[in-house]
Structures are given as C-alpha cells and as structure tokens.
C-alpha cells in the first residue's frame, strides 16, 4: 500500500497514544496498590518502598481462594452445557433443517439484543419459587438460557455452511443421527466451538448483574460480582481496593495472554456475528 512516510508515522503515533491510554488505568492502579496501607495515594507515583505485601492482604481480605473456586464452579456449570446444547440446536436447525425450525430461530433472534435488565426481576421471583436463590444454580441456569440466542445463532451459522452432501454420505454409510453429529459434524465444527467456548467463559466470569441480584453471598458469586462486594466493603481503603481489583483481574489476564490469539479471533467474530 502506498502510504506516505508522514502518514505512516502519524498512524503509529496515534496507535501508541491509544495504547498508553488503554494501559494507564492499570498502571495507576498498580502504583496505588503498592503504597503503604493507610496513606492516601495520588495519581501515578511510583512508591519509594513498594508494599508487595498489600497483595497478600488483599488475597485474604477478598477471600480469593473461595472466589476462584466459586467462579470456576459457575463456569463449569454454564459453559459445557451451553456449548453442547447450542451445538446440538445449531446442528438441528442448520443441518437437519427440522420442520418449524424457522419459527424457533425467529424466537431465538428475539432474544439476541435483549438487555439482561429486562428479565432480571421475573428471574428473581422464578428462582425464589424454585428455591434456588442464593445458590450458584441461580446464576448458572438463567445464564445458560440467556446465552442460547447468541450461541445457537453462532453454531447454526456454522452448520448452515457445511454441505448437506456430507450428512447424506454418512447416512448412506448407515450411521445414526447421533453418530453423524458426534463423529462427523462436531469434529468439523471444532473452531466454531472453540471460539464459542472462549466467549461463554469470558461472559460468565464477568457477569455482574445476575450475580448481585440473585446471590447475596459474595463467595457464591462470579468474579465480577465478588469484585462488586469487595468494593462495597473496602471502598474507602483505596490501597487495598486497587490491590484486590488487580488480584481479581489476574486469572482472566493470564488466561487471556495464554490464549490471546484465539480470544481476539473469537471476540472479533463474536461482535461481527452478534
């Protein structure tokens, strides 16, 4: 591409400015987290004597061990089931083309732009009726339902593009529908499934509204919900709050950095299709 030297330089400068702006909040939090407890930190100021021990204090104060366990349990309850039933439904709608499938798909599209706030009140009373309030199920079950529009939409898009001849060939070989699904179609759908899994993980981990409405006990919430409670409790102790927030971010950041390529691909595709 014929970009003039000057244009290239301006472009770079803009990008670097963008990067600095993106990173500053994290750096500022880190500088505050390393100040001595009980002081009032200001802006960005590298402490003369960084107090790394603050992170240990925050770990105990936030009850990080319990939080991690809770978030993992919720993710384990939501993600595999969501991905499995969405893949099955995507296969049913996109490959088997079940009669009445268009109607089902239309119903699902209805939920694609639905703000969670629109259903959170009835969900509260529904969970109360089921006797599940203040349990992790109160987050897990609704999340699976709420993810279905996007997840089915996503998997259907994949299965619609797989040639039907492939299924027919498997049929002629005498395989059952389940064999066709599990042995032939699922392995082919692996990239779509991987991206979906990443998105579901991230959205579950970061889910806030359902966590604060449906579960009172912070140690039974998602990471984001627990962070909300942590802020409520330690909001005035800025040093500890910053240390705790950074700690709570760390697991996601580690997972993100490891699977960075897949994450970015999933997020780009996710927003394009959503």
């Amino acid at each position: 591409m014929n970009l003039s030297r000057r244009e290239q330089v301006t472009g770079r400068v803009f990008l670097i400015a963008l990067i600095v702006v993106t990173l500053l909040p994290f750096v500022s939090m880190l500088s505050a987290a390393l100040q001595p407890r009980g002081t009032v930190p200001s802006g960005l100021e590298w402490p003369s004597d960084p107090q790394w021990g603050n992170f240990a204090d925050a770990f105990t104060a936030a009850n990080m061990g319990a939080l991690l366990r809770s978030s993992l349990l919720i993710v384990a309850g939501v993600v595999p089931v969501s991905v499995l039933i969405a893949t099955m439904a995507g296969f049913g709608l996109g490959q088997l083309r079940v009669p009445g499938g268009r109607l089902v798909f239309g119903l699902l599209l209805l939920g694609l732009t639905l703000p969670f706030e629109a259903v959170v009140t009835p969900l509260y009373y529904q969970m109360q009726d089921f006797g599940l309030l203040n349990t992790r199920w109160a987050i897990i079950l609704p999340l699976i339902g709420l993810y279905m529009p996007f997840a089915v939409f996503w998997m259907r898009a994949h299965f619609t593009n797989v040639p039907v001849e492939l299924s027919e060939a498997a049929r002629v070989d005498g395989s059952s529908t389940w064999q066709l699904f599990w042995r032939v179609q699922v392995p082919l759908a692996r990239p779509a499934i991987a991206s979906l899994t990443i998105l579901m993980f991230l959205w579950t981990w970061n889910q806030f509204l359902l966590a604060i409405v449906l579960v009172d006990d912070a140690t039974k919430r998602t990471m984001a919900g627990a962070l909300g409670a942590f802020q409520g409790q330690w909001g005035t102790d800025l040093v500890l709050l910053c240390a705790g927030s950074l700690l709570i971010l760390t697991p996601t950041l580690i997972v993100f950095l490891i699977f960075q390529r897949q994450f970015i691909k999933a997020l780009i595709q996710g927003s394009v299709k959503g």
């Binding site: 591409m1 993106t22 969900l123 709420l146 800025l238 927003s271």
Partner: protein
Amino acid sequence: MTSALGSAPTGRDDRRARPTPTRAYRFRWARAAGTGWLYVLPALVMYAVFVLRPLVLTLQYSLYDWNGIGVARWVGLDNYLTVFTDSDLLKIIGNAVVLIVFFSFIPVALGLLVASMVRRITTGAFGTVVRTILFLPQVIPLVAAGIAWSWLLSSNGLVNQVLRAVGLGGVARAWLGDFDTALPAVGVIGAWVLLGLCTILLVTGMSKIDPALYEAARLDGAGPVREFLAVTLPSLRQEIGVCLTVTIIAALASFDIVYISTSGGPGLQTTVPGLEIYRLAFSQRQVGLASALAVVLMLLVLACVLPIQRLTRGEKP
C-alpha cells in the same frame, strides 16, 4: 422444573406434518427430521424457561401495581404512562441516550480516524502487542474498569494530577461527583472500554479494502478527506454497523460501570434505566413500574439497533 416445559408439543405437531416416506433412506431421513427436534429441544427449553417465560412475566408485571410480596393490583397502562410522563424517569432515559454519544460515537469516530491512518496493523510482533493491549478492556470485567476509572477520576487521581501538571489545576475536580461532569465522566469510562474493540474491528475491515481503490482515488486527485468519504466510509459500512450495534446496546443497557463508579449519583445525574430497574424492583419494591421501564428499554434498544442492521446489512450486493 418440569412443569415449565412448555415446548414439548411442538415436536409432535411437526412430526405429524412430515410427508409419508417412500424409499428406504427417505424413511430414515423423515425419522431423522423427527429426531432432529430432540437436538433443538434442550436449547429451546432452557431458552423458554429462563428467557421467554421471564419476558412474558415482565410484560405481565408491567400492567400491575405490585410490591413483590402482597396482592397485585391491575392498573392497565398506568405504569407506562408514568414512564413517559415522570420527569425523573424521562431524565433517566435521556441519560442513556446521552451515553450513546460517548459509548458509540466517540469510539467509532476515533476508531475510524486511527483506522484510516494505520490502514493495517502489521502482522508482526508489533501488531500482536497492539491487538492484545487494545483488547484488554474487553477482557476485564466492566466492574474492574469502573473501579480503575473511579480512582483515575477522583480528586487525587491521575486525571487531576495531569491537569495540575500542565497548569490547568483550576478545572481539577472530583469528576464523578460533580453535578456537571458526572455523566460525561461515566461516558469516558465506556468510551475507554469500547475504543479498542472498535479500532480493531475497523482496522481489520480496512485491511480488506482493495488498495487499488485508493490508487484510483489518488489518480483522480482526491485529497485525504475525499478519499475517506469516497472509499473508506462506504467500504467499511458493515464494520461500522457492527460497532454501532454493539456500542449502542452497551450504552442503553449500561449497568455495571454506573453501579460501581457513581451508583447513579450525584442526584440522578448518572442514573440509567438498567440501574433504575434494579432499584425500583429490589429497593423500592415497585415491581410493576420497574417492569414497564424494562419493556421500554427493550423497545428502545430494538428501535436503535434494527434500523442500523437494515442500513448496513440489508442492501448487500
């Protein structure tokens, strides 16, 4: 839970509608269409129980005056009337609309600016680093973004520190606590979260544009502005549509950032519909009014998103 499984009969009806199979493998196919429903059913049941049923209930609640415990009293459309006439509620809806400027327009405009200058982020290590960093705000919980920015925008925070350093100490203030600046300050947090996503999406779209189009524009003597209007903007129509859709939903349905950074204050300056629904339903026990506001919010999202989808996707060649 089984009592709520409302979707089972559909499967039966559709199986009846299948034509009589003639040949052997045709027979298997027809049966497969029946069993096909078994694949769709689990997702549909979860969706029906945890989305469709609550949605219908929201509609129902919105027609009643109910405190969540006692007997509900039918009030017809009174709650909707309140939503559209109460000055506080109108202000709250207005706040969400103002946030669109910050959550959508600023990231898309800045993203376009960066994209048209960068054209493509190199595939090398620099590109990877750039993409990773710009995606960080997408990966962390919005709650964390809210906490980080509450600190940056506080009276001792980095923003004021910088202002004082450049001699603008006079305008320094607690940005989120000030009546005039609280809403824009919340908007800035949203802009920070969504800027990276929009930039990457637009740059990715940019790299798909045929360079020959730019060559042609230059040969025709087009300046950077003409080039942007004639080549960049039309080619990126779809990507811009995606950015607008995602960010407008984020603005209208915002909750996390506001809850953490201002709790809607000072006064009602930063209260958004999502937060007000939560408050009305769970603190003030006005479930009916909360539900009416929820329905209005839902329709507002659709009213903003559907035209964008139509404009940017509908007329594809």
